[in-house]
């Protein structure tokens, strides 16, 4: 029972991270049809920023702000340099571009920081924990869960109550008609990239708080998990991304708990296999509607 509760907290915390990554991916995909594989490198950018600022003695609050800002700036640079001129390109072209951008950024990190892991000097409170009824619960997990909930709540408010939020939602539905409302296309793209960058930065903070080492390829694993969360949820929908993220985390923690220790190194393989089985029956994801563009004759 106690163990189950602890696992539940773990799954919620892990699911929060996956959901944040998946949300960042889904925002760009829903509006631009861009599968941004470089989302992981936005996280790595935040990771290296965190490493550098903390290593040079910055206050952790400033370091956190700097890390998120670095992700946002990186996202904006990508929008301007790589994606803006490809706005009307085929989805496959966009996909390959983002893949190449991801590799290029990893190489730049490699040239700048080298291949050796950089340990992030986390503040002590990250390890703090408390006990209830004999169970040890990490404050970090609680913080991750609560902050993620607050972010999802804030994002929902933003998308429902502000004009730019409404415009982002309507653009995902019907881009042309959104422009007919007088909304500037550039503003939409910039807005989407800023949001995506922010989510990548925050997800990176949580991710590196649990895995306090950063290497050039750090972003690959969480990026892939975020994408798979999106795909099993239903690519392009924000609520589906969140559900997909938590589903993936519960699969992961659940498999880990149920299987013997011999299998734990294979956890990723097992979880991905389950995801593939889900896709066998629901190729569009759990909430997936078949993309209507293909059916429009």
């Amino acid at each position: 029972m106690q163990l189950a509760f602890q696992q539940f907290i773990n799954a919620l915390s892990l699911g929060s991270i996956y959901a944040l990554v998946a949300l960042g991916v889904a925002i760009l995909f829903s509006i631009l049809r861009l599968a941004n594989f470089a989302h992981g490198e936005l996280m790595t950018t935040a990771g290296f920023t965190l490493y550098m600022t903390l290593a040079s003695g910055w206050n952790w609050v400033l370091a956190v702000i700097a890390a998120i800002a670095a992700s946002v700036v990186a996202a904006l640079i990508l929008e301007r340099v790589a994606y803006r001129r490809l706005r009307n390109a085929q989805p496959l072209t966009l996909l390959m571009t983002s893949f190449a951008v991801s590799v290029a950024l990893q190489s730049i990190f490699l040239l700048t920081f080298g291949a050796r892991p950089k340990g992030i000097e986390l503040p002590a409170f990250v390890d703090a924990s408390f006990r209830i009824g004999g169970m040890r619960v990490q404050w970090l997990d609680i913080a991750i869960i609560l902050i993620t909930a607050a972010i999802v709540f804030g994002l929902t408010l933003f998308l429902r109550k502000t004009v730019i939020g409404l415009a982002l939602r309507s653009a995902a539905d019907d881009f042309q008609t959104t422009r007919l409302m007088g909304v500037k296309a550039n503003a939409l793209f910039v807005g989407a990239f800023v949001l995506s960058g922010m989510l990548a930065g925050i997800a990176a903070l949580f991710y590196f708080a649990t895995v306090p080492n950063v290497v050039p390829s750090s972003g690959f694993e969480p990026m892939l998990k975020g994408f798979i969360a999106c795909v099993i949820g239903g690519l392009g929908s924000l609520p589906a991304a969140i559900v997909g993220g938590f589903l993936l985390a519960f699969l992961e923690v659940g498999s880990d708990a149920l299987l013997s220790d011999n299998f734990s190194p294979y956890l990723d393989a097992i979880v991905f296999l389950i995801a593939i089985v889900i896709l066998r029956w629901r190729p569009g994801g759990i909430f997936g509607v078949r993309l209507t563009a293909e059916q429009r004759v």
């Binding site: 409404l166 019907d174 422009r179 007919l180």
Partner: protein
């Protein structure tokens, strides 16, 4: 005709999609306060004309002047912000969003306070937008959606309202409501360019009419001067000028 005080003047407009010429060398003018109807069979180029005016269709030639400003090369959003509004064919409401949210986007350039003022003024004319403000737009009936779409376009107080087939796919009784709304807009001196297939109804409400066939202007003149015979000939592409 109305050269002085033309709110929109179109000269030599051509629209091509690749190798298809949807509109060829179209000249047209609309004066302030007028209701002008653009008629023609399916595929004659009516919708392409409206889309070209707001910059959504590829313009391959011609010049557009709106409210004294050359809008030929402007992007859609800039044209809209200069005072044009288009109610597109098929309504194109954001179906997953509420009626109120749809309206808010129609006034994207306004502050919230301005929006609330405009919205209240419009709610009297379109009670549906108050009654069903918080319902998903996609769940409304076709006629209700059309009303919301028109209200959404009016929120920014456009200098010229373009209506693309507002009666399309609606039951006859609902079509009556829509035409009553257009008549009311006309009374309120809203300048309107209307594309319609229901020629009879449209002519009864309009001041002037243009008729397109195969992308070319076949006929133009005062609405009263056009009757069934001239119209059918024009639809069939038999050139005759009234």
């Amino acid at each position: 005709m109305a050269t002085q005080g033309a709110i929109l003047s179109i000269a030599g407009l051509s629209v091509s999609y690749g190798t298809v010429h949807a509109v060829r060398q179209l000249d047209m003018e609309i004066s302030e306060g007028e209701t002008v109807v653009l008629l023609g069979a399916n595929g004659a180029g009516k919708s392409s004309t409206l889309n070209a005016i707001v910059g959504l269709a590829p313009r391959s030639g011609g010049r557009l002047v709106f409210a004294g400003e050359d809008i030929t090369r402007k992007p859609t959003e800039a044209i809209i912000r200069s005072g044009l509004a288009l109610v597109p064919e098929g309504r194109r409401l954001f179906s997953n969003m509420t009626v109120r949210e749809n309206l808010r986007l129609g006034a994207a350039a306004l502050s919230t306070a301005e929006f609330d003022r405009e919205r209240q003024a419009l709610e009297d004319m379109f009670p549906i937008t108050r009654r069903r403000a918080h319902e998903q737009a996609g769940l409304l009936s076709g006629g209700e959606q059309q009303q919301v779409a028109i209200a959404r376009a009016l929120l920014a107080r456009p200098k010229l309202l373009l209506l693309d087939e507002p009666s399309l796919g609606l039951a006859p009784i609902i079509v009556n409501t829509i035409f009553e709304i257009i008549a009311e807009l006309k009374r309120r001196k809203v300048t309107i360019l209307l594309v319609e297939q229901n020629a009879e109804r449209a002519l009864s409400i309009a001041d002037r009419a243009y008729v397109l066939a195969q992308g070319r202007l076949e006929l133009s003149g005062a609405a009263g001067s056009i009757n069934a015979t001239t119209l059918e000939k024009a639809y069939l592409g038999e050139r005759e000028h009234a």
